[in-house]
């Protein structure tokens, strides 16, 4: 059983606010240059892309490289256009996708 990504949105939000969205996902972010204790090279396995869409529109995207730490934490901002649904996608080398959808309530 692997850990589910964590998403944090602020509690109370009004239209026009610039809010902080925090995301955290379990992933080794293997750089392809690390060696095991027995000396063998661990092959590269990265989450290479993180994308945040709101109501189907891209708000923010990140291209992650080997210089990004394991278990990536990414916190970014969005100006709230109204209530709606976030879709967060992480794409791993080889194409596997992790998708999380979260509703944003607006008062």
């Amino acid at each position: 059983m692997s850990a589910k990504p964590r998403i944090r949105l602020p509690g109370s939000v009004t239209i026009g606010d610039v809010i902080e969205i925090k995301t955290l996902i379990a992933h080794p972010m293997e750089s392809g240059v690390r060696r095991n204790t027995d000396g063998t090279l661990v092959s590269r396995l990265l989450l290479h892309t993180f994308e945040a869409k709101f109501e189907g529109r891209e708000v923010f995207r990140a291209a992650l490289h080997t210089g990004t730490a394991a278990n990536p934490f990414i916190s970014f901002c969005m100006k709230v256009p109204g209530p709606g649904e976030f879709e967060f996608t992480w794409v791993e080398d080889g194409g596997a996708r992790t998708i999380e959808r979260v509703a944003l309530k607006v008062s």
Partner: protein
């Protein structure tokens, strides 16, 4: 405190000498990095400034180094930050991350965690919607730690 930074930079140079700065991570020359930079931001001449790169000057471990990068901008449809690229020239692969913003981002501000193989100067580039490119750098000393080694 002016000599503090000098001290730290001197120590960065020393890390290579002690041979404990991490396995076979040869220092990349500026030319290598310029090729990478060109693929990211094209031929624009980067101007120093405009970017706030909040990074500790010494890291207890290179595997996870917290940072916040921010670029000043109204983030309107006419004037916004398109992208921010972070580079670690002395890492085995120099790219750390690229962030792509939209006017909907509201603020071009991101917090995350980087990985540095050894002490070095981290470089940031910001691409603006009007074609301007800004740059900033910050040196980070990565220390040897723990009982092992």
């Amino acid at each position: 405190m002016t000599d503090r930074r000098t001290l730290i930079m001197g120590l960065s140079a020393m890390a290579a000498w002690t041979g404990c700065a991490g396995p076979a991570t040869a220092q990349r020359g500026p030319r290598d990095i310029q090729a990478v930079v060109r693929t990211l931001v094209g031929d624009a001449t980067p101007v120093a400034g405009g970017i706030s790169l909040d990074l500790p000057e010494i890291a207890e471990n290179g595997n996870t180094i917290p940072y916040t990068v921010r670029v000043e901008s109204p983030m309107s449809d006419a004037d916004y930050v398109k992208a921010v690229h972070l580079l670690a020239p002395a890492n085995p692969h120099p790219q750390i991350v690229s962030f792509f913003f939209t006017p909907q981002s509201g603020k071009a501000s991101v917090s995350s965690r980087m990985r540095l193989a050894q002490s070095q100067e981290v470089v940031a580039f910001a691409e603006m919607s009007n074609g301007a490119v800004y740059t900033a750098k910050q040196s980070v000393k990565v220390t040897v730690g723990g009982c092992g080694g």
